[in-house]
């Protein structure tokens, strides 16, 4: 009987360690994904919220200057002038 309870406690402990490791894994994966996005120079944003706030007029859809379309294979096109 005593041996059974000890075994049960061991299993509970193992379960707890397992759940903790899963949580740590999820946390690290999320952080790494975030770092990956930041390192490549762009961010994921809450697009739905952004569009809601643009529709309500809180934010603007004014077109930026100083950007260009990334073209595959042909290299980036630059003329040093802003474009609207």
């Amino acid at each position: 009987m005593r041996r059974y309870f000890r075994h049960l406690r061991d299993m509970q402990l193992l379960g707890l360690v397992g759940v903790t490791l899963v949580f740590i894994g999820f946390f690290l994966t999320a952080q790494l994904q975030q770092l990956e996005a930041e390192g490549s120079g762009w961010r994921r944003i809450d697009l739905e919220l952004l569009q809601q706030r643009m529709e309500s007029g809180d934010l603007s859809d004014h077109e930026a200057v100083w950007y260009h379309l990334k073209t595959e294979g042909a290299g980036d096109v630059r003329d040093g002038e802003p474009r609207r």
Partner: protein, 326 residues
């Protein structure tokens, strides 16, 4: 799916559709880059010019100061992180003011200048540019308070509309920039030289963080560089660090560290070296570099004594003090 490349700052973010640049506010929507905070400032205040800090530019005048959300640096010690480290969609407080309304507001508040400040105005470039054009035509001055992390072609284009800048040179060390600010040093140095070449009045701020960027040899190298590239008359402000945001593990900058930094920079040849964020420090005031006469006494952001002549000279020896005084 069209990916856009933002050319504004040295990050040159490649932004897929529906994503934003690293600054959080330049967003690729439908294959066009949108400046989402254009005309939507989240901070509007009237400050004294000394708060920017600009000590040799229209001293004592009120300056209409604005900022939107977003920033292209991510300083661990950011003072305005609630504003700078968030996207527009995350802000509770957003005002609506197109460039023309902003200039009218500035004039209503009897301000001679508009400052683009608090976060980094680089990221709301289009708003700065359009407002500056209208402000210039209305006889107002434009002041750009920045970390200077911007590519040279857009900066050169903007410089024609700017009157003064205080640029934050965070350390004279690329590693510090990478580890503490998420940027690099060289683009900031290039921006400072560009401001000078384009005739914008330049003052420099260096926030001293204990153990991270308070090495006297590095401060000397920085001061020498400023003297050589920008001129020995360029005001340099050493500012006191206070623990905040993600850097709460370090103490505020000790007073003697600021004193030693000031002495080192002056010994390296700079004529106007100030100490900021320390109330009543003698390094808040301007002295004649020739005879030591007290020219402008400041307590905090207040001017308590003003002895410069109308044309910006020492009243005793007539030394011309560099700056824009009227």
């Amino acid at each position: 799916m069209s990916t856009l490349v933002c050319e504004l700052c040295p990050r040159e973010c490649e932004i897929p559709e529906g994503g934003s640049g690293d600054c959080r506010i330049r967003v690729n929507l439908g294959g066009k880059l949108r400046a989402t905070t254009y005309g939507r400032p989240s901070a509007i205040h009237v400050d004294p010019m000394e708060k920017k800090p600009l000590y040799h530019f229209l001293p004592g005048s009120p300056v209409f100061s604005i900022a939107t959300a977003g920033c292209n640096l991510h300083c661990l010690n950011c003072q305005n992180w609630q504003l700078s480290q968030r996207g527009g969609e995350e802000m509770e407080q957003i005002y609506r003011a197109d460039p023309r309304e902003l200039v009218e507001l500035a004039r209503d508040q009897s301000c001679e200048s508009i400052a683009y400040t608090y976060s980094d105005p680089v990221v709301f470039y289009e708003y700065v540019y359009d407002t500056s054009e209208i402000a210039r035509a209305a006889g107002l001055h434009n002041v750009f308070i920045t970390a200077g992390y911007i590519n040279i072609p857009p900066l050169r284009r903007l410089c024609g509309l700017l009157d003064a800048t205080n640029t934050d040179l965070k350390a004279f060390d690329d590693r510090f920039y990478r580890e503490t600010n998420g940027g690099t040093l060289q683009p900031v140095l290039d921006a400072l030289v560009t401001f000078r070449e384009e005739g914008v009045w330049v003052e420099v701020t260096n926030l001293l963080i204990p153990t991270l960027n308070d090495d006297l040899a590095m401060i000397r190298r920085m001061a020498k560089w400023i003297g050589r590239e920008l001129g020995t008359g360029t005001p340099l402000h050493f500012s006191r660090f206070h623990p905040q945001y993600r850097m709460r593990n370090l103490p505020p900058t000790p007073g003697d560290t600021l004193d030693r930094a000031r002495a080192e920079a002056m010994d390296a040849g700079l004529k106007y070296v100030y100490v900021g964020n320390v109330l009543g420090h003698e390094g808040n005031s301007t002295y004649c570099p020739v005879d030591g006469t007290l020219l402008i006494e400041r307590v905090g952001y207040r001017i308590t004594e003003y002895n410069l002549t109308d044309d910006g000279r020492c009243p005793l020896c007539s030394e011309q003090i560099p700056g824009i005084w009227q």
